[in-house]
Symmetry: C2
Subunit: 195 residues, 2 copies
Amino acid sequence: MSIPDSATDPRTRILQTAEALFYRHGIRSIGVDRLIAESGVAKATFYRHFPSKDDLALAFIRERDVAWRAWLAATVARLAPTPRARPLAIFDAIRERFEDPSFRGCAFSNSIAEVAQGDSAVHRAAAEHKRAVTAMIASYLHEAGIADASRRNELARALMLLLDGAIVTAVREQSATAADAARRIAATLLAGHIS
Amino acid sequence: MSIPDSATDPRTRILQTAEALFYRHGIRSIGVDRLIAESGVAKATFYRHFPSKDDLALAFIRERDVAWRAWLAATVARLAPTPRARPLAIFDAIRERFEDPSFRGCAFSNSIAEVAQGDSAVHRAAAEHKRAVTAMIASYLHEAGIADASRRNELARALMLLLDGAIVTAVREQSATAADAARRIAATLLAGHIS
DNA sequence: ATATAGACAGACAGGTCTGTCTAGTCAATA
DNA sequence: TATTGACTAGACAGACCTGTCTGTCTATAT
């Protein structure tokens, strides 16, 4: 369950444990005692690296943002044979995620729901993540040949909304088919712009 | 903040208080002590009506399911001048919700994220709610003239996905504009089927 | 060799959580 | 009038929470 691997430094061990447990069970459900137990770290060490649990939660969000975007870039690159195929490949990529038995939804949306406070650091960091992903999508649309910037941004926003809708649907239905539904909608939107 | 109104019976008072507080702050964040304080009820009375806090959470979901669908029916009826306008009126309706300062996202999706357990009663009840809403959307599509059942169900599923995407976007961005984006996508999907 | 930094183990404080229990009040009914 | 049942008030148990603190051990650097 945990990711001890006592070779790595304590901070990394704590963060890796938090990534696994926070994603699986939520932030509030996981106590500091469990985190230190599973990461094989002393409590004082924990609080040396993360002054409070909230700081760890924030680090968790930021770390996952980087990892998630790297995953998307790599998976789209693998699945899309041509630049034109990249926008729709986003939905093939997310489908793979849905099929992973450890899939538990979007860590960012889940955290926003959990903290339930729009002015919290976690909320802001999660929102920032989605802006970054939307920018990635806009790049894919650019590479796919959509030259008009305002059209591109509107489409990027639409695909982001479809992606979020697919994720929340998949976790609720515990099924990967929402990815296909979202992909078909996206294809309809892109028809005529890319073809 | 609370909804005492000591005229009504204790069970209703507890449930109304839970609806307000659970929606605003989440289920885990609200303790039983706070619930009984704000509903003006003794602890023993609370546990007489709800054997555990989980039972109250489940009652909260079920109650909100009924209320939400009643709200959608009433609002679509008010906003759509003709049956053909009903499917898109869903997005005008949700926009009103987004503009309400007390809007805090989808109670069902939030609860699913919070409990983080696909086999929980709360998760199942929330999923059941969405199936019921999808059935409502299918009815609107039927009334709007989409005769083919399989086409209708696919479109209903698409509109539900758009609705979920819009909600998660609105709560994250703390803005109502996601409703318009979702409405435009829905209009594109419906073009040709309704006109 | 000795000092320093950082890790370990784990007790502890102070607070919160859910759920149980006792004791007393009040209104309706037999 | 006496009893019953649902209510209020709040103490309590036991678990769990975050965060602090003391003390020990090891590795590195001087």
